[in-house]
């Protein structure tokens, strides 16, 4: 009924044109970066041709492209294996990180017990745990997922914690004044308030997840882009190393932009200034 109110229309139109302008602006923003990227590739290609650099030292972009095409099936499979690790690792990191934040916010005493331990655990260089996880969980998906979670849950938890706590105390007072319970305040105020913070944490987490997957594969694997990079470098197949690197970057970008898309679609407000 209220949606049919014609007076409500101008806001919708404003919002949609604003969005269109933003999308166009975003595309235009990429033009200088793209130009510079192409310039770097051209110089790189020129240098490696003029100085006739051996391919195992620094392959030319065209040589890397040729390998990307020639080995596309192997690279594709490796990318699939790594993507699976990143996806599972990231999802578990998100769920565990959010759970830690929620429990800490809701049960203050438990939070006080948990928080110092979590921080203490952060001082361990987690990459150093990779061999242990290989020992415990084998060479497949599991040790990589565990390693990723150990690396990537922390930024999720810490960001969401800040978002859950960074609520205007007057708003809490208002909620209390109408008899709201702790759970109601959590559900109606704190959790929605934490979402922009959570999204920022997820973006950090997904970047760390890619690193975790590659490091996990370095420590011991039978497939994946990290495994491929290590294998190719021992064979002096430097073009293949670069080709795998390209796929790692593309993979990381894809994951990152999926999260950014979710953020734009569902968390489209700026957190209130404090």
């Amino acid at each position: 009924m209220i949606r049919d109110d014609p007076a409500a229309r101008p806001a919708d139109i404003d919002a949609s044109t604003g969005l269109v302008a933003n999308t166009r602006g975003a595309v235009l923003r990429f033009v200088p970066a793209l130009g510079l990227f192409i310039a770097v590739l051209v110089v790189w290609e020129g240098v490696s041709r003029i100085f006739k650099l051996p391919e195992f030292v620094l392959p030319a972009p065209t040589a890397i492209l040729a390998v990307l095409i020639a080995h596309q099936r192997d690279l594709g499979y490796a990318a699939y294996v790594t993507a699976r690790e990143v996806l599972y690792g990231f999802l578990f990191s998100a769920v565990i990180g959010a759970a830690v934040a929620l429990v800490t916010a809701r049960f203050a005493a438990f939070g006080r017990a948990l928080y110092p331990l979590v921080v203490l655990f952060q001082t361990v260089p987690k990459v150093a745990l990779a061999p242990l996880f290989i020992l415990w969980f084998g060479f497949d998906l599991a040790p990589k997922v565990v390693l990723i979670v150990v690396i990537a849950f922390f930024p999720v938890a810490i960001n969401m914690m800040v978002g859950l706590q960074n609520v205007d105390p007057n708003l809490i007072a208002l909620m209390r004044s109408v008899g709201a319970s702790r759970n109601e305040i959590l559900m109606r105020i704190q959790i929605p308030n934490s979402l922009p913070y959570l999204m920022a944490g997820l973006k950090v987490a997904v970047t760390l997840a890619v690193i975790g997957a590659i490091v996990g594969e370095f420590a011991g694997a039978q497939a994946g882009l990290g495994y491929m990079i290590q294998f190719a470098s021992t064979q002096m197949q430097t073009s293949l190393v670069f080709a795998a690197l390209v796929e790692v970057s593309v993979l990381g970008l894809l994951f990152y932009y999926v999260i950014e898309w979710i953020e734009r679609r569902y968390v489209d407000w700026v957190p209130a200034a404090d």
């Binding site: 209220i2 008899g179 109601e184 407000w269």
Partner: protein, 267 residues
């Protein structure tokens, strides 16, 4: 006046002490006041005189260390529980992810869990209309001006249909022109809804223009030094600012505030 009308809000000998690092700090000393039903009272005073603290005590957000307070015949905490008190802060404290309509409805959803969604929406729409924002129902706070946001927060308080509206410098963050507009708007709301209003402000003009009675506070000790009735007939409008009674009232208020200031400086 208060001898004839029964007090809607009553405070007797209210003190508030904060203990900081083992030292007792008296932030409110022996405050008594009485507001009749449908009255409009302002609390004015220098910063740090405890006017916001007094409002918090009256609104049931802070228990007094000594003294008695009653709102509509019961303790403030009980009045809050019975949804008789609506609160408006200096900042609009809206939820940035909800539009104006849902912001107005938010507290009602919690306060009256038994009501249906459409009942609450109808009430919220009505309140938005009352504050002149029905056209902005679907805008988020970020799309609204400061004055509009504050009107949404007033609508949110009114949606609970409280008997008393407690306002803590509600227009303090707004520019001068918007402030005057909001003052006129608040008078209109008051005349239409017959709520009892207690307003904390540091603006002499605002206090004199709006209130039936202004309570002037001083610090050291933080208490009410005078309750000044404003002899200006309602409905008041822009012309009221140039009325002789308005000039007399503001001159008196200015003198009282200066005295309080001098005392504090001497102490």
């Amino acid at each position: 006046m208060s001898a004839v009308e029964p007090a809607h809000i009553l405070a007797r000998g209210v003190c508030v002490d904060f203990t900081v690092a083992g030292r007792v700090n008296r932030v409110l000393h022996d405050v008594s006041l009485s507001v009749p039903k449908g009255g409009f009272v302002s609390l004015i005073g220098p910063s740090g005189c405890g006017k916001s603290t007094l409002l918090k005590v009256l609104a049931g957000l802070l228990p007094p260390s000594a003294g008695e307070v009653s709102v509509a015949g019961v303790a403030p905490v009980e009045a809050v529980r019975q949804r008789r008190i609506g609160i408006v802060f200096q900042e609009a404290t809206l939820l940035p992810w909800k539009n104006a309509l849902d912001n107005v409805a938010m507290l009602t959803h919690v306060a009256h869990a038994g009501r249906t969604g459409s009942e609450i929406r109808d009430r919220a729409t009505e309140m938005l209309r009352l504050v002149g924002l029905e056209h902005a129902a679907h805008k988020r706070p970020a799309q609204l001006s400061g004055g509009m946001r504050q009107r949404v927060s007033i609508a949110r308080a009114l949606a609970l249909d409280p008997e008393v509206l407690m306002m803590d410098e509600p227009f303090g963050a707004l520019d001068a022109i918007t402030r005057e507009e909001m003052s006129a708007f608040l008078l209109e709301i008051w005349e239409r809804t017959k709520k009892t209003i207690v307003l904390v402000t540091h603006s002499i003009d605002e206090a004199a223009f709006l209130s039936r009675e202004v309570h002037v506070m001083a610090s050291d000790p933080a208490t009410i030094i005078e309750a000044l009735p404003i002899d200006l007939p309602y409905p008041r409008n822009e012309d009221s600012y140039s009325a002789p009674a308005f000039a007399r009232a503001t001159a008196r208020l200015r003198r009282l505030l200066k005295e309080g200031h001098r005392q504090a400086a001497a102490a």
